[in-house]
Amino acid sequence: MAILSLKNVVKQYHNHKAVDDVSFDVEKQRIFGLLGPNGAGKTSIIRIITSITGADSGEVLLDGELLNGYHPRYIGYMPEERGLYKKMKVGEQLLYLAQLKGLSTKDAKLKIDYWLKKFEITEWWHKKVEELSKGMQQKIQFVATVVHDPKLIILDEPFTGLDPINTNLIKEEIRKLKENGTSIIFSTHRMEQVEEICEDIVLINGGQVMLEGTVAQIKQDFKENTYRLEFEGPEPNFDNFKVVEKSEHSVVIQLQDGEEGNDILKHAVNQGCHIISFNEILPSLNDIFIKQVEAAN
């Protein structure tokens, strides 16, 4: 069941089609990567989902319903260009943002308390935002995004400006939120983060969907049937195979039609080779991303 469905969404800015017939689904309780190079149309898509702008045509469904005025309450959005009111106190600010999302004052206070305690920053309530470091402000922004228990959270480059400790802290919270039933859209350029966190992805380029699916499936789809064998001792003879890379204690072989990975292993074992490791080389998302975008351009 999809929490979010985009169907043939189009958004045009004068002579430029920012979103060109985009369709994809975000499944419930999954972490979904919205990827694409700069200017691909990611932000335009996010702004349509968050009702900041409207689509020229196409449909956006949240939990099976066409997007309407009540839906912003169920979405938590942390934009890439983000900030806080500098002169306002942390508590007042979070209260205001939570109330704008539709929480009552009482509920909002309870939720804010819960999150501040969780991050062990309850003493920040009366601090002005300008007194906090950039990393501390990021934490407050994260709290503001999740404080109203949204069904769908959209995080645009959430880790920029965070130190490794706080990055892990937020990653951990994202995972917990997912376990508790929240769906998450994660937009970034950092492919290693996508591989680490995301389960599904969509790759956007030039306003169009280029690639869509689970991370595992996409990697399978783009693998080149190459295997790396590491060994000790004298180098075995691999003349019957297509060797694409070779060094003193390892060899990379690309399988040809009819060949299987086990064939390489058998061949090596038969030659009395002392095998240390044998694994299939899957392409990194980074490679897939670059290849796809370059091919398209």
Partner: protein, 450 residues
């Protein structure tokens, strides 16, 4: 609605709780009071610094006249002018006047020289000219053989009064005709009141319109705006700012009104209920603002009578309507400009020009509207919605025709709606636009975006 209220509340509380707001609100009336007091003080006393004047009078006319100056002291010398030029300062005089011999008494112009080390103020020059002029006039009267009493009887004051008012100041019973029943004093008070209201509108537009603009820019520069508009529609956010800052304006103006009234009551008790006519005459002489013969009517009793007869039941609600209308129109436009500017304030100056022009036009028309409240310019200015918030309040004390007030309000409401819509169109795009050079062509494009 609830979200609009939340935005209004935040915008209001954030400003009202600021120390700078509290200080400005409490101190401004005192600063204005001090300024008024100082200006009265300096016009009556300080402005005309007492000077010791040495006169070399070759005509002998001025030296033999009864000068009777309260401000300057005159002394005379027969020494050579070249010698006096060297001496006058060391002998403790501020100014040396040389009146050449007056041979031909049929002349109506006579040149008199002064010598002074510092630049001489215009009021001193005029005062001395007047004193010498009186002396020469008296001399000519005497010389022509006209009897002094006869000469004095030539003087005539014409008092142009409104015939529709009875002698005791009440309105005539036969006022069933469409005669206007305002007195000269009420016209003067009306001008003052009208000018004051027009000026308040002008201030309101700039102070609070500017506040709305800064508020929009702050959200854009802080990069919080995208978070907010993922919860609230941009138009709601913009209107929330406009209303919130408007409420700040009302609070501030309200406190000022209370403090000023309190101060005026305090001052009038302190200074006595009547203005000393002699003192008023002195001010009038020196500033040239009031016709001297009107001063008889110029006391607190008459003023408060006239103020009591103003159509406050019309003026106050109308002022409030035009206050809101003008504020709405201009603060929406300021919000639109603020959204387009973003980080670069310098760029904003260019975008503000089209807003400033009608405001300055309004201020330019205000003078004309107060002196000629039923003239063509005043009528146009009070109907055109970009100037009507300044001009219509200024015309209100002069009983403009009902149809003009009605039409003006209609145009104002339409303009409020139109400019809020226009500003909203620009605002919703502008707040999300970074790093782009904004031209008017670009703004026009934004209006047409879906």
């Amino acid at each position: 609605m609830n979200k609009l209220w939340l935005v209004i509340k935040r915008e209001y509380l954030v400003r009202v709780k600021k120390k700078s707001f509290i200080i400005a609100t409490l101190l401004t009336p005192f600063a204005i009071g001090l300024l008024m007091f100082a200006s009265i003080y300096f016009t009556t006393k300080g402005g005309q610094a007492n000077k010791k004047i040495l006169v070399k009078d070759e005509s002998g006319i001025f030296s033999s006249a009864d000068i009777g100056s309260k401000t300057h002291t005159y002394e005379f010398s027969d020494k050579e002018i070249s010698q006096l030029k060297d001496e006058y300062k060391t002998n403790g005089f501020d100014l040396l006047i040389h009146i050449p011999a007056f041979v031909d008494s049929s002349l109506t112009k006579h040149k008199v020289q002064y010598y002074c080390q510092e630049k001489l103020g215009i009021s001193t020059i005029e005062n001395v000219e007047r004193k010498i002029g009186y002396a020469f006039k008296d001399y000519k009267v005497l010389k022509s053989g006209i009897d002094r009493d006869v000469y004095d009887s030539f003087k005539m004051d014409i008092d142009l009064e409104n015939g529709a008012i009875k002698g005791d100041g009440s309105k005539g019973e036969n006022s069933s005709s469409k005669l206007n029943t305002s007195t000269k004093l009420s016209t003067m008070i009306g001008s003052f009141l009208g000018g004051l209201m027009g000026f308040i509108m002008y201030m309101v537009i700039f102070i609070y319109g500017g506040m709305v603009m800064r508020s929009v820019m702050e959200e854009k520069i802080n990069r919080i705006v995208e978070v907010i508009i993922s919860s609230v529609k941009p138009t709601t956010l913009m209107l929330g700012k406009v209303f919130g800052v408007g409420a700040v304006g009302i609070t501030q103006l309200g406190i000022w009104l209370i403090l000023i009234v309190a101060m005026m009551i305090g001052m009038s008790t302190f200074m006595g209920s009547n203005i000393d006519p002699a003192q008023m005459q002195e001010i009038a002489n020196q500033t040239g603002t009031l016709p001297v013969q009107d001063l008889d009517a110029f006391n607190w009793t008459n003023i408060s009578n006239e103020l009591g007869q103003m159509k406050w039941w019309l003026i106050i609600p109308m002022f409030v309507i035009f206050f809101f209308g003008g504020y709405m129109i201009y603060s929406s436009l300021f919000a639109a400009v603020g959204s387009a500017i973003g980080d670069d304030m310098g760029e904003g100056q260019q975008l503000m020009i089209p807003i400033m022009i009608p405001v300055f036009l309004g201020i330019f028309m205000l003078q004309g509207a107060v002196t000629n409240p039923n003239g063509g310019m005043a009528i146009f200015g009070s109907l055109f919605p970009l100037t009507s918030p300044i001009i219509m309040p200024a015309r209100l004390p002069f009983d403009p025709p009902w149809w003009q007030i009605g039409l003006s309000i209609l145009f104002l409401i339409l303009a409020c709606w139109f400019f809020a819509w226009l500003a909203g169109r620009i605002y919703r795009i502008g707040i999300l636009m970074y790093g782009k050079k904004i031209s008017f062509k670009e703004l026009a494009k934004w209006i047409t975006y879906k």
